[in-house]
Amino acid sequence: MNTQLYQPLQGSDLLLMAPELTLVIAVIVMSIVDLLLPRRINRSWIGGMSLTAVLVSLGTVIWTLVDRYQGAIAGHKVGVIELLGGSYRIDDFGLLIKVVLLLGTALVIMISIGHIRESDIQHRGEYYYLLLPAVLGGLVLVSSTDLITLFVGLELLSISSYLLVAIRKRDRRSTEGAYKYIVLGSTASAFILYGMSFLYGMTGTTHLGQIAEALAQNAGQFLPLLYLSLLFLLVGFGFKIAAAPFHAWSPDVYEGAPTPVAAFLSVVSKGAVLALLFRLVFHILFGFQFAGGLGDLSSAGAFINEDLSLILLSIAALSMIVGTTMALRQVKVKRLLALSGVANAGYLLVPLGLNIFQPAAWYSSNFSTFWYYLIAYAFTTIGAFAILAIVCRATEHEELKSFAGLYYKAPWLAVAMTIFVLSLAGIPITAGFFGKLYILLGAVATHALWLAIIMMVTSVISFYVYFGFIRQMFMRDSDSMSHSQTAKAQSFELVSPKGHVGPVSSTRIHVSVASGAVVAFSAVSVIILAIFPNELMTWVNTLLSLANDIYAAS
């Protein structure tokens, strides 16, 4: 084993790591070129270049997946490929998550191309090639099975994100947000590390599979320590995914960050860490599962599974409640979306937290529901951020009021926003609805009824929040006349207080091609995902096996 650990990278492995390597090369090339080119030369092409890099990376991931899928239906499933002494692995879990991450990044870059102005961000080249290491960190994160690799990936993602938030360095809010982010983020990293150190201490290894096996053997001895370390880990990761009560940074940071970066944080960063958490949790769960045997309630492992599930679901429930209720009175759109991200982190935590190893349930489709919700969430949120970028640019403030009368100014944008809003609220017929439905199915199938009810009730409360956009877009005028004045004015009219005065503002809203494409693509995807999920979900289900792809038995 130890000899394997120091096994160098083989030539053939290069191909397997093509997605990551593409990004690495692109970053290096771009930074060098950016450094060498004279100042006066326009850097906008760098955006296109980084987009290309991400798309190439995405292409290789999809190509690998297609390959593996064809293998799977032909009957010879391609197994997990372990690299670098088992610390890095190419499996279907990682690949599927990478699709979401890369797709999300690509869309974020497209928003940026339409959104970022020279006046705003002086170093546009830097901006674009900082996005790549960030997503690269995400890719490493979801593929690693060793605490060290994992931590490196996490920090790559985090540090790049800190920088991205601070990219508007002349902006007071941007730097303030970045400072908050880095202080709290580093503290969270310290928590994660502290938790990891105990895991290592109990097992003497940093390989996830070996940790799981060792814990299955001797968890009973170190139970308080194990719980403590798990708690430290959960606090740290909870911070990274902005789950309540570790969410407080996210509204401030999102508000400070440029809109595309906020989108990146809420989708790519959150998705990658969630995926990692998924893997981590299932390692521990599976470890006990294999030690105890099917439905064996006597072992300590079964209890640990239950407790872990309880903790995760509590965080999930709290996130939903806090995220939703805090958003009720929120008038700043970015903060609102940040809080929506808190609630959605809660929803995404549910498939992780469901205790599928209790004998009462045979349900084990956690990953496919998780993945479906993640991609639905990615499209919806990025679409919403794209529109936010367009609208706030036009109205030059970021309050909910900036959406007022959008229907008159840009009807199609309003329609697209309606789709995203419906999806966020979980109303048919959108991907958001089906995502929640599938998660809920799992919750009910594993008899976590209390969670199902909390989930549904919070999503109903969120109706009020999200329909606030609709109220603004369709029921308000874009002039500054506030709602109360309108209502008052109309209550005096007895006879026909119906309807509105019609389109008043003639402010044209400029929609760049790239942003428009993101909006259109996201909106269509949200609908398509909802109506035709069969193919995609069959793929996921055929490819993925919880036991093989997530659990890294050494």
Partner: protein, 633 residues
Amino acid sequence: MESVYAQYVWAVPIAPLLAFLVLTLMRCVVKGSAAFIGVGSSLIACVLSILILLERLSASTNVYTVNVEWLSFGAVHFELGYELTNLNALMLVIVTVVSTLVNLYAKGYMADDERQTVFFAYIGLFTFSMLGLVISPNLLQLYIFWELVGVCSFLLIGFWYERPAARAAAKKAFIMTRIGDVGLLIAILILFWHMPNHALDFQSIGQVFASVDTMSQYGISAGLATWIASLIFLGAIGKSGQFPLHTWLPDAMEGPTPISALIHAATMVAAGVYLVARTFDIFQLSQTAMLIVASVGGFTAIFAATIAIAQRDMKRILAYSTVSQLGYMMLALGLGAVTAGIFHLFTHAFFKALLFLGAGSVIHAVHTQNIFQINGRGRSMKITAWTFAIGALALSGVPPLSGFWSKDAILSAAWESNKLLFAIGVVAAFLTAFYMSRLFFIVFTRAKRVHTEGTDSPIHESPAVMTIPLVVLAVLAVVAGFVYTPFYSGFETWITGVAASDHTNVIVIIVSTIVALSGIGLGYFIYGPNGVREDRWSNVIKPLYHLVERKYYVDELYKLFAVYPLKVLGKVLDVFDRYIIDGIVRYTASCTVQFGKLFTRIQNGQLQSYGLLSLYGFSALLLLLLLLGKGLW
């Protein structure tokens, strides 16, 4: 014998229905000839029903029934159809004759009203419903038409809708009768579930309730029969204005007078009596129910008669008289004398319609209903006065007018079974004679003593179109009684189908004659042309007089014990709904918002407090694990 006309019974109600439809749907086209259509259609119905009656008189044919399925699923088989019995045939004639005459009369009475078309349409609808009620072969169909006549009555009471009083009266009529209707409805529910095959037709009811044995054979206990009968009677109480649901009937006089004659005197209000007679089999099996019917009837007879003594409104006096006479009929039924009850219904229909139309004729001329304002001015209307006198005498029970015979039949039945009820009947008869003579003398004979109005325009007799019905009805009021005298009981046999013996009872004849004459005499003594003034005697018994004048405060009691509590309850619930139920909803909503605000407050921009929050979260999770964690325990 083959029935010739019986198979066309369906056409009897159809004629007025067509009139209604034509008048409603083609209002603009037929505007001028509304009265003609009304009279014509009811005349057709009248002729046809007389033919049917004659046919049934000449040969005692069997019950003729036709049914078509109306609604059917599972165990439910509701049928619509018609049934012809002797009782029905008689009722058909009563209804159509009165209806025809009233239509004719209304042509004159309503000549000036611009909503004539509507009026005749309503009458058509009413006649249709009443006829449908009469020929119903089952209880459900009867109930349907029962409600329809109710709504027609409601519409016609409120015909002059601008008057708040008419609005209130219409509403009251509908709601009060509805209370009774619900009783009937519940009776139907009970019957439906306890009758074999869920049958509701009268023939099956007759079979099941033929005797105590058959009843128990079908698993119906005596107690249940009492309940059914009482509930049916509750329906009758509402419709026929029996105590305590009588208050709507006097108020219903806000409607046009022809309507009062047709609906609130002759036909609809008698439907209760008809209903009891029709379901008499059930009543017969329950002593309790019979006693209830008799007591309510007897009490109402005397109760309403006393009220009538002190009223000043001409139509109201007649209305209370109607209530009282309906009580009489109920009394008869309660005593088991179905024939007597029906017979009184028959005679009462004519003379009471006559009285109302006569009153209408006077009112039409003098434009007031207050008898003290009319104050003898009716004397110049000769035909009206004479026909009214005939009606009053018939009602008072002066031999040999029709009222005498029917009242006699009831009193003799009472004499035979219950002396107390007989006494009540006699007192009521005396009071009837008294208040009728009071009414007649004040309106038609009193000398003009006070001129309330400055210029007293001369009073003319009403046009022929109004007086002809009066004359016809007067004739009927005289002769109708000879159908069933103590010396001839063929009518009873014909109605009940059981051979009956004559029931001559000399004592009763003598008593009732004396009572009627003395009542008239007392009335003449007080109110005659040279009578003493009313306040002489009314002052003597002032409290009692007030009590009677205010109708025993029944309306006030209703207001106190039904209307106000309902209103107060409604208001209380409204507050409850607004502040408690909705309050909880709003409170929940605001709690949610407040909960969100709680967290928002932590969002103060200080990164260190964010860190602290996370630390608290960490501790909370630790606590959760310590408390609930299964692994640690």
